[in-house]
């Protein structure tokens, strides 16, 4: 490639790079820069404090609590969504009646914005007049206080998240199931493999990269959950549902500590990068045929 061609290509990159820099790199760089400053919103003057904000966050018990809540939420929500999503995808892949209708209905929660879904769920999980407890009462169960009960508040968030995001898992895995070639399935049938054996030894290996893909996307999203927490529980009772992003919001917009909030944001970014890096490493190992 000539120098001229390289220059032309760079020129073509300018518009998209401008947009990227404006909406991605600049805020990120600004946030990193801010994390080294003591910036209290009502006082316009910022003072350089080095790593003090990071030290503050890492010594703050609320941060570790929020990290633990986020990890538990992410683990539970993603696991539930994967299991439920795989089950529904398999069901749709088999010859069930009204498949198209079911397909459409299943996708509906995905079309709702998370804040609206959170509001819906808040009323569904309302312990005195909510639908969930109403249905439980029909089978003789007195439902818990859900969002007001420390033992159930996190679970109500997990269920709300699963309700909204399982369709994504279904779509991806269902598409994967549709693309499984027929030859190995027929060969398994000829060899007398049971349905479970076919599923575990033939179908699942084909789906593995997609499962990993779903894991990456859903883990990232679940780790950053904010809308449902804000709408459904406000981080409570106590701090039982205070996730990292919610704590970040509290730090920035309630306590107005922009420097510390930025440091918390940077730390969150690093944690998430490590987790996602691990998943991607697994994905590439698979592509290289290492497992």
């Amino acid at each position: 490639m000539s120098r001229q061609q390289r220059r032309d290509r760079l020129i073509f990159l300018v518009p998209s790079m401008t947009v990227l820099v404006a909406i991605l790199f600049y805020p990120l760089a600004y946030s990193i820069w801010l994390s080294f400053y003591n910036y209290y919103l009502p006082v316009p003057r910022k003072s350089f404090v080095g790593l003090d904000n990071f030290r503050y966050v890492l010594e703050d018990s609320a941060f570790w609590e929020a990290l633990s809540v986020t990890a538990r939420f992410t683990g539970a929500a993603v696991a539930l969504e994967l299991v439920a999503g795989a089950a529904v995808a398999l069901l749709l892949d088999s010859r069930i009646p009204c498949r198209r209708f079911v397909n459409t209905v299943v996708l509906l929660p995905m079309t709702i914005t998370p804040a609206v879904a959170g509001l819906l769920m808040r009323w569904m999980f309302e312990s005195n007049w909510g639908l969930v407890n109403y249905f439980l009462s029909l089978v003789g169960i007195r439902g818990p206080g859900w969002t007001g009960d420390p033992a159930w508040a996190l679970w109500s968030l997990v269920l709300a998240d699963a309700w909204q995001n399982t369709p994504f898992v279904i779509v991806v895995l269902y598409a994967g199931l549709q693309s499984v070639p027929t030859e190995p399935l027929e060969a398994a049938m000829v060899d007398g493999a049971t349905r479970t054996q076919t599923l575990t030894h033939v179908v699942f290996p084909f789906l593995r990269p997609l499962v990993l893909f779903v894991l990456i996307i859903r883990s990232m999203d679940a780790f950053r959950i904010f809308d449902q927490v804000f709408v459904m529980t406000g981080g409570g009772p106590g701090t039982t549902t205070q996730t990292i992003t919610f704590y970040n919001y509290v730090m920035a917009f309630r306590l107005l500590r922009m420097g510390r909030a930025s440091a918390l944001g940077v730390i969150t970014l690093l944690i998430l990068s490590v987790v996602i890096g691990f998943w991607i490493y697994l994905l590439y190992r698979r592509e290289k045929g290492e497992w």
Binding site: N128, G148, P150, G234, G235, G236, G238, R254, L255
Partner: protein, 441 residues
């Protein structure tokens, strides 16, 4: 044409690229310019727009509606939950943005005034004293709540206190009287709790933030404690604090299962729908009990001064005085904004709205017809006599409140013991006060 044919392919391509870049840049610039200029263009020749923000409850909805009827202006009101209103105001004002003209500043008036976000109203009061009948507005409220360091920063628009709401029909049926002490409250709540019939003895407002703070402040002060001593030392980790939180924990046993998620709205609905028999609620919710469209308990709810700690003891209910302030960054004519505000808070309007909260004009609160018409104005007066007080007005109080009450909640859920919860809550507040330089090292 001949010229074009003579140019090299690369040169033509470069020309296309440059043209394309120019067009794209110009479109982007035009777009940004249009976005930036649109409000200005739209404002040409139109009535001035007054932007308003407050939390939402019937009295403030009434004032917003009346401001919207003010002649010669366009009114844009934002009535949103308390926490969100505070958050939006802080973000916009800290950047010096002229987003809002009139704001309900209430308990954080001093915080905002200290930061230079509010317009001092003294010159405007001097200018319009007669026209807006300023001297009729309760001077004690102006001086004690809507002023900061000797300057007036707000106009009091309402005064409300927390009542003890109770279902007189249920108490009568059970042969009980409204409780006058904490022990009686617990005993009465126990007697009226029948979870199988979806009936609970009491409601509490325990959602972390200002909701929890309102209830806790009443319990704390009624047991003889307070948030700070005279030297601003935080004093909630005290005997009174333990008694307050322990009583709340005891009462929680007779409250609906998700009471930790209850804010004012949820507590109101619980009373309106007959789910709870008693509870502390704001005076502004009293009228809602008798609204046949929303309430199943019309005429069945009565009001009293909240219980004292012991027989013959003193009850210290929460008092709240609403203040409307004008942003220091308003782009509108301050004379106009002040007149919109004060003329909306006229005698006629206050008389019309007297059922929603205690009016702040002396001529209305002293009007026998108004007192006769709204039965709860008597309770409001009794509450003031009992010693109802506003919360501390230092900026740190509202700033730390979410984290403080989150920690106190943990004492109620059993996540930590009551003394530990108080200790942690006190530490959060004390750390902030130390950081702000309240204590000498």
């Amino acid at each position: 044409m001949a010229y074009c044919k003579g140019r090299s392919f690369m040169s033509r391509r470069r020309s296309v690229v440059l043209q394309w870049l120019c067009v794209t840049s110009m479109m982007l610039l035009a777009g940004f310019a249009a976005l930036g200029l649109w409000p200005t263009v739209r404002a040409w020749g139109a009535d001035p727009t007054i932007h308003y923000i407050s939390h939402r409850f019937p009295m403030l909805e009434f004032w917003a509606k009346k401001m919207g009827e003010y002649p010669g202006i366009k009114f844009e009101g934002e009535l949103i939950p308390f926490d969100q209103a505070l958050e939006k105001m802080q973000i916009h004002l800290s950047q010096g943005a002229p987003t809002y003209d009139i704001m309900a500043t209430d308990a954080f008036l001093s915080t905002f005034a200290e930061r230079g976000w509010l317009m001092p109203l003294d010159p405007l009061i001097a200018k319009f004293r007669q026209a807006v009948d300023w001297d009729d507005i309760n001077p004690i409220l102006v001086r004690d709540v809507c002023s900061y360091k000797g300057k007036v920063y707000g106009v009091p628009n309402l005064s409300i206190s927390m009542f003890f709401f109770y279902r007189k029909d249920m108490l009568d049926a059970a042969g009980l009287k409204p409780p006058t002490t904490m022990d009686e409250w617990i005993a009465t709540a126990r007697a009226l709790t029948k979870p199988d019939q979806k009936q609970y003895g009491t409601t509490l407002t325990l959602k972390a933030g200002d909701g929890f703070q309102n209830d806790f402040t009443y319990f704390l002060r009624t047991y003889g404690g307070d948030w700070y001593d005279k030297d601003w030392k935080v004093t909630i980790d005290s005997e009174a604090g333990v008694k307050a939180l322990t009583t709340m924990k005891e009462l929680m046993k007779y409250a609906p299962p998700n009471v930790l998620a209850f804010h004012n709205d949820e507590s109101t609905v619980a009373m309106q729908q007959g789910l709870t028999a008693m509870g502390l609620l704001w005076q502004s919710r009293a009228l809602a009990m008798d609204n046949p469209q929303a309430s199943q308990v019309v005429g069945k709810v009565d009001f009293a001064v909240p219980p004292a700690a012991t027989k013959g003891g003193r009850s210290v209910p929460r008092l709240s005085v609403g203040c409307y302030s004008i942003s220091a960054f308003t782009k509108n004519d301050p004379d106009l904004v002040f007149q919109v505000l004060t003329k909306t808070l006229s005698k006629a309007n206050m008389r019309e709205s007297a059922g929603l909260a205690t009016p702040t004009r002396l001529s209305v609160t002293r009007d026998p017809e108004v007192i006769q018409k709204f039965r709860f104005i008597r309770t409001a007066s009794d509450n003031i006599q009992a010693g109802a007080r506003i919360v501390p007005t230092n900026p740190e109080f509202s700033e730390a409140m979410l984290q403080v009450t989150q920690n106190l909640q943990k004492g109620l859920t059993g996540e930590v013991t009551v003394p530990e919860a108080l200790k942690r809550a006190q530490k959060v507040m004390a750390d902030l006060m130390t950081e702000k330089g309240y204590y000498k090292k």
